[in-house]
Symmetry: C2
Subunit: 349 residues, 2 copies
Amino acid sequence: MENNSKMCGKQSLLFANPPYIIAGSSIAGKKEGEGPLGRYFDQVEEDPMFGGDTWEDAESRMMRRAADAAIEKAGLKKDDIRYMVGGDLLGQLIATSFGIMDLEIPLFGVYGACSTMGESIAIGSVLVDGGYGDKVMAITSSHFAGAEKQFRFPLAYGSQRPLATSWTVTGSGAVILDKDDNRKEELQEKEAPVCVKGVTVGRIVDYGVKDSMNMGACMAPSAYKTIAANLNDLGVKPEYYDKIITGDLGYIGKDILIDLLKQEGYDISKNYMDCGIEMFDKDTQDTHSGGSGCGCSAITLTSYVIPKLRRREWKRVLFVPTGALLSTVSFNEGNSVPGIAHGVMIEGM
Amino acid sequence: MENNSKMCGKQSLLFANPPYIIAGSSIAGKKEGEGPLGRYFDQVEEDPMFGGDTWEDAESRMMRRAADAAIEKAGLKKDDIRYMVGGDLLGQLIATSFGIMDLEIPLFGVYGACSTMGESIAIGSVLVDGGYGDKVMAITSSHFAGAEKQFRFPLAYGSQRPLATSWTVTGSGAVILDKDDNRKEELQEKEAPVCVKGVTVGRIVDYGVKDSMNMGACMAPSAYKTIAANLNDLGVKPEYYDKIITGDLGYIGKDILIDLLKQEGYDISKNYMDCGIEMFDKDTQDTHSGGSGCGCSAITLTSYVIPKLRRREWKRVLFVPTGALLSTVSFNEGNSVPGIAHGVMIEGM
């Protein structure tokens, strides 16, 4: 583990000045609010349009709310945020562009499908750790109806969904990374400051799976490669983390991931959790394989994971949002659905 | 200009250890090869399909060639590249995902429309300057036929193009950033090492222009804001640069940009250049307002701008790729076309 270089192993970075997550926000839709995590979200919006005119507009408005809430919870003004790193699932990132442009904060637009929260926190952490910005926001979103329209069939078609499908979470989460947590001392008694210790940047992994209605199977190999790379780079066992948390593999992807890692000699079955599985009640919410989407891991992180670390119930987690790299064009042209996953090491101090 | 902090002014960064651009590659289509810059490109491909089956596949194959050429020109192997930062114009970045996945290099996927080369060099430079990777590749691409299909009308429709339109460049360019240029000493006599001194990260700028057939007008305000921010942050005049080079404003955007900066007290008319204007011969190539696309600025940079710096014909340029943030969905829903532009300060030593 001791390493003077920031570069650790083949894919990982360890931060010399781990950025603090000083605030996180979570805005969720009605269905998510009715799920097991519902009571933890900052805001649950009953109107699926979020007061807007289109699904895309709805997602933009939701993302803007997540940005505003994070800034407010951090006790900051928008001008205090030097850079934003963010993106979403829609073609050309229109949810992000139209959602946050009025904030007038310099933007790095990123796309990693549902791994986006991992990628944006990774880049944001590099910026803060390296002294390129004191305060940087990482943000992402997804909206069930917009994602169905973008990737599958418009809701109005009333298409039946196969049992392997996941349900795209309507949600937006943002974190604010800061070089210091000024509330550290006063809070230390009851709340642990939380920081990003390092990241493992993912590679694209393609096992040739072509079923866009089974995203868990498409993404599990990339989660496997990233988690294995993290453990190998750091020379640690899965037990090093209180939880290893993937973004949205769902029930099918979970089993595949655990099996793949066993072949590598790692048993994560004891301390594994998937945000997509946590998001909905399988028996009552009809969401089949679980939740998915950029927003799934983002709002689970901000509403559930970070508070667990603050309350010192957990000490250290590996947060691994997972993305499926497809478009309707690539899929209809007969391409496979490769995956990518980025790992973020988050610790309570 | 002297500043111990890496942060300079409101939006800019100055690198303490400016990354060297040790190699750059440029792969272009037939029409680009017939233009004024044709003789400078590494490869000109006569087949618009690049040997592939679809326009998207063609773009992926072109990007892969650009990546391979850059690695080869740098005298490296693919395993030497720690991270890639890249993206393209297609929804969900499929040109990039399918193009470079076999390289198995950890990837930060980025989207900044046609500003992507600026964004990817900015993030790549942060990674190298900060010690997060010795060698990082920044890459992007665009393909005329894929872009028409994605944003306007499939070529087979034979639609007429208004005079304000630009012509999406078929091209892919990559640079390799390194913490040092090992060839420095032997080359210093005849070729200047070239490095990235700093960047100005762009904000989204929306002047409410809704004409997706006039991208120059949509993007000029963002170029104006980024160039003004760079000059203000550094406290320099336009003459500080031998050239201020936008990505793809074209003839209409050029005039708007020069006018907007005049209002701010900056006259860039003497040392201004636009890659879109340089790319095609206006009189003979029927490209209306000029070239555009992520590839336009990328291959102009690698084939023409960097060699000028290496030959010491120029000492210092501000490279400002410009992007229009729209999708067919946002456009058809009546939204405006906001712009974003990222500035990269590139110097010969």
